[in-house]
């Protein structure tokens, strides 16, 4: 361990001269950003109207940078609990590679820059929703809800859903019903996705004092809530077809994937495993939920763009 790392672990201000660009990139939570970019890009593709490829690229870039800014500000605020959890202990702040002030400045500059840029290049409706998405994630979810209520994921799920509103608004300058249905899909998808993760990471969350549902209400109640939210999720994924906003190519995909999602949620509900090693159904649901959302939005784009 070098002098700097030693100094950081002893509680002094962590010297950060050894940070390189990879540490700043890690602050952006690139893996989380991927799904945000994908769903926002799908919303842009589905929205009526067209954008010059350069402007479409700029819109997606701004949404990605804003998601990264929110991730950086989240890591700045949560460095103390990140240090307590195995999954997050190696992030740049708890690892002592970056100082808190650097992460804060990085997040604020990227956040303001992305909002101003999408406003100037595209429109200010998109800029407004982009600013809302950053503030919702940082202020409402990270600073307010996450450490106070087991409903943190439910309400905080909106933060991950705003990028589709932003993507839609970037093309059309407004946010009609269809855009809010896409918002609703991600909003209702978030609790089953994160609670499946929370079930097999329960010990980590308990150690860090984060009131996730498995910690506060136990595993059986979490499994019941996963099933309930899955039952709410599937109908809203079919809604675009029922309302005549999408064709049956998307509708068929939504019904098929929804049936698999529900089947997996029922398996989780019936599971009685209490140790992570035995939580096969929970891990399957967590992995499948990522594929589910990607396929659902992919099908929507294919439905709107490829079919006559």
């Amino acid at each position: 361990m070098n002098q700097m790392a030693t100094d950081a672990t002893q509680g002094g201000a962590p010297p950060t001269l050894f940070a390189d660009w990879r540490d700043y990139f890690a602050l952006l939570k690139p893996r989380v950003m991927t799904l945000v970019i994908f769903t926002a890009a799908c919303a842009m593709a589905v929205a009526p109207g067209s954008l010059h490829p350069m402007l479409a690229f700029t819109g997606i870039l701004c949404i990605a940078v804003a998601a990264g800014a929110a991730g950086a500000l989240n890591q700045w605020y949560e460095a103390d609990i990140d240090a307590l959890m195995k999954r997050t202990a190696q992030r740049p702040l708890p690892a002592g590679k970056l100082a808190a002030g650097e992460a804060l400045a990085f997040g604020v500059i990227l956040g303001i820059g992305s909002v101003v840029m999408i406003g100037l290049a595209l429109n200010w409706v998109a800029a407004f929703w982009l600013a809302v998405s950053i503030l919702f994630y940082v202020v409402v979810y990270t600073a307010w809800l996450k450490r106070r209520t087991p409903q943190n994921i439910v309400i905080g799920g909106a933060a991950g859903a705003f990028p589709v509103i932003c993507g839609w608004a970037a093309v059309t300058g407004d946010t009609p019903l269809f855009a809010w249905i896409l918002f609703g899909i991600i909003f209702l998808w978030t609790p089953p996705h994160f609670w499946a993760l929370a079930l097999f990471m329960e010990a980590d969350y308990a150690k860090a004092g984060v009131p996730m549902l498995p910690v506060t209400h136990g595993m059986p109640e979490t499994r019941r809530q996963i099933l309930l939210y899955s039952l709410l999720l599937v109908p809203i994924t079919i809604a675009p077809t029922l309302l005549g906003l999408a064709d049956w190519a998307y509708g068929g995909t939504a019904i098929t994937l929804g049936a698999i999602f529900l089947w997996m949620a029922v398996k989780v509900w019936r599971s009685t495993a209490t140790v992570p090693a035995g939580m096969v159904a929970e891990k399957q649901l967590f992995k499948f939920s990522l594929l589910y959302l990607a396929c659902l939005f992919g099908a929507l784009v294919a439905d709107r763009l490829l079919l006559p």
């Binding site: 070098n2 002098q3 700097m4 201000a13 010297p15 050894f18 990879r22 402007l55 700029t58």
Partner: protein, 60 residues
């Protein structure tokens, strides 16, 4: 409290220069990409305005 660079070991000094160089390169690439992006956006927006101008002028 920043550690006095005079107290660095040779390995720490080498690591510092390598990482500072990587940060500076990344920043240079980023600035160049931003210039290209702003130029591209400006061209697209100006082209749109030029295309829209005759139609707007012809409108009653």
């Amino acid at each position: 409290m920043m550690i006095d660079p005079a107290r660095w070991t040779d390995a720490e000094r080498t690591a510092f220069y390598a990482r500072r160089q990587s940060r500076n390169r990344a920043l240079g690439i980023l600035l160049f990409a931003l210039v290209a992006l702003f130029f591209g956006i400006t061209v697209v927006r100006m082209t749109d305005q030029i295309k829209g101008a005759p139609a707007a002028a012809a409108a009653p």
